[in-house]
Subunit: 370 residues, 2 copies
């Protein structure tokens, strides 16, 4: 089976590495002009002229990037199966749609307002209580428009700087930690859930994911499983879905956002779970049985961002698994990740600290459970 | 680093799958006209005109196949580092050289004689006691010349059928089981040993490998470690080396043959060991630290030969890992393997039986420890 992938970055690369053993072949459609997958056949389609050729080559289409024109994905669906569907993309690329879906399924979120003027933004900031974060409801190829408002008087400046006709305004959450739940749903509706991860972001970029969360309460996992199952079933979803949440002081979970794809906070599964998120995504979209999502041992994913450390030093750590993306160094760019596996959480934390010390731009690892 | 691989079959394919995460790129040189790696850049060189271009592309050369002209490998060594060296190839492709090396290092082997005539073959059969097996000392691209002699009077027929000027004649060994030891040696001389595997061959083709051998005696592992370390050090070897042995009724080990490469009896390491044989080979030849060779859990590799079973059925077995080579079906052809992992040997055997039942051409699994 030849699998077409929209996007050609490291997620596509790791999908392919998981798919060759299933005798899959891969054709990537890159619309950025800067593919980095470095594997399979990569078609560069910056002029939108190669879609037909791409579709002739492939049996099935998936994607590693959800900020695609919905109309493009719908057009592809006329010719080849696409998993997850364009409906998942439509919802996930619009924060207003996403929040409406969370509300409809009774998945709690931070308090929010939708606004379409500077005045409405100011009023929302007052109602929710500052600080708030204002975000454009859609997000294009070229990054994010968002601003933190610490005083309602800053609303008009924020409105101008974001420069988008519709914004979502969210109350700040006093969270204990950021977590994520990843699940996979097969074509037959079967669902499997990975153990939840605790995620550490610095400046909005994921730095560390630890899974299973060391102090994970069964009830919390079950709550998260229920939320993501509701999303999967509602969207008649096929493939891997990721839901990022905040855990509050009282143990509650508030949904932040979802991604209709394999996710950085699931990279730990490559070495820490019986079946990786990449293999399970491929199993799902091909109608194969889902693989076991259990963790083999406590695992931490350490992102390598901006600059790479010495591979030899990293590989000298016992049970360290380096996954390089074969990309050039650039500040803020995801270049690789290291999965560290250990028999106990204490041993794991020691390895994480040793690994972080080898990475030029890694922030100190700090977790809620330490 | 761009790694050049001589040969482009499934071993090269799996090397590449292990090497992409190390940011390696792969160029294969295929001299058969029938490459199957299906990954990286494959150069078909049936006319021996592409070697120079190949060498310009690569930083380092290794191979997945030892029946290469030694002169070719020596010529490559003039231009680029080759690991393992041409000396390893020279010894491994000649049974007389190999046995002489075993003798020199005091590694016990079955009793043998070298003969260069039908008369000498008959005399050797008498001396060793029939049955004996006669094999040409070298083995070309096109398979094996060997014959079993059950009566010395059959010697002249066997001599004609093998049709080679020099044969090695080996006494039959009353073995309890066939086993293998795989080890890896780094550029700095560091050595790591995998736990030994019990191998089941049917009609000369490997069918099952179980590792670690369930009833493995520490002393046996240490003996095997000592033998392979002697070989590695004597050859100043860099990379993965495999030694196949017979275990006799008294627990002793007799060396059968060695292979200067990753080996089918080490495929279990892809899912059953902390670091796979493929990754460790790549770490070694690049001068990176060796990875942990410990087993994670009892593992059995099941070869898929001739015809493939239904992937969906195989993947429905818990902790089953399918590795397809994306090759066409043909009697006797290695098409894939399945790694089964289980917490106990009993649970493992149940999975092996379930898996074998799904493979059209799989012989019933029978192990010495059952």
């Amino acid at each position: 089976m030849n699998i077409g992938v929209l996007g050609a970055g490291q997620l596509g690369r790791m999908l392919a590495l998981a798919g060759y053993p299933l005798a899959n072949r891969f054709t990537f459609l890159d619309t950025t002009g800067h593919p980095s997958a470095g594997i399979g056949e990569v078609m560069i389609d910056t002029d939108r002229k190669h879609l037909e050729t791409f579709l002739e080559k492939v049996d099935l289409v998936t994607y590693e990037f959800e900020h695609l024109p919905v109309s493009l994905v719908q057009a592809i669906e006329e010719h080849k199966p696409v998993h997850p569907s364009s409906e998942a993309i439509r919802v996930c690329q619009n924060r207003a749609e996403e929040k409406a879906l969370f509300d409809r399924l009774a998945i709690p979120t931070p308090a929010y307002r939708l606004v379409d003027s500077a005045e409405a933004l100011e009023a929302a900031a007052r109602e929710l209580g500052t600080p708030v974060v204002a975000k454009s409801v859609t997000e294009g190829y070229d990054g994010k428009g968002q601003a933190v408002i610490r005083d309602p008087a800053e609303a008009s400046d924020a409105w101008r700087s974001i420069n988008h006709p519709r914004l979502i305004v969210e109350a700040f959450v006093d969270f204990v930690r950021e977590v994520s739940i990843i699940a996979v749903r097969g074509r037959d509706g079967a669902v499997a859930f990975y153990p939840m991860a605790e995620n550490v972001h610095v400046d909005g970029i994921l730095r560390y994911s630890v899974a299973p969360m060391p102090d994970l309460d069964d009830a919390i996992q079950q709550t998260a499983d229920g939320y993501i199952r509701a999303l999967l079933d509602e969207l008649d979803y096929v493939g891997v879905l990721t839901l990022e949440l905040f855990q509050t002081r009282d143990g509650g979970l508030l949904a932040n956002e979802m991604a209709p794809r394999v996710h950085n906070s699931g990279h730990w599964t490559m070495d820490g779970a019986v079946t990786s998120q990449f293999e399970n995504h491929l199993r799902a979209i091909q109608g194969l049985p889902l693989g076991d999502t259990a963790a083999r041992a406590p695992t931490c994913m350490v992102n390598v961002i901006g600059r790479e450390g010495e591979a030899a030093d990293i590989l000298a750590i016992e049970d360290a698994h380096l996954h390089r993306y074969d990309k050039g160094e650039r500040p803020g760019r995801k270049l690789a990740h290291v999965n560290l596996v250990a028999p106990t959480v204490d041993a794991l934390l020691e390895k994480v600290r040793a690994c972080a010390a080898l990475l030029p731009d890694a922030p100190p690892p700090r977790f809620s459970f330490e």
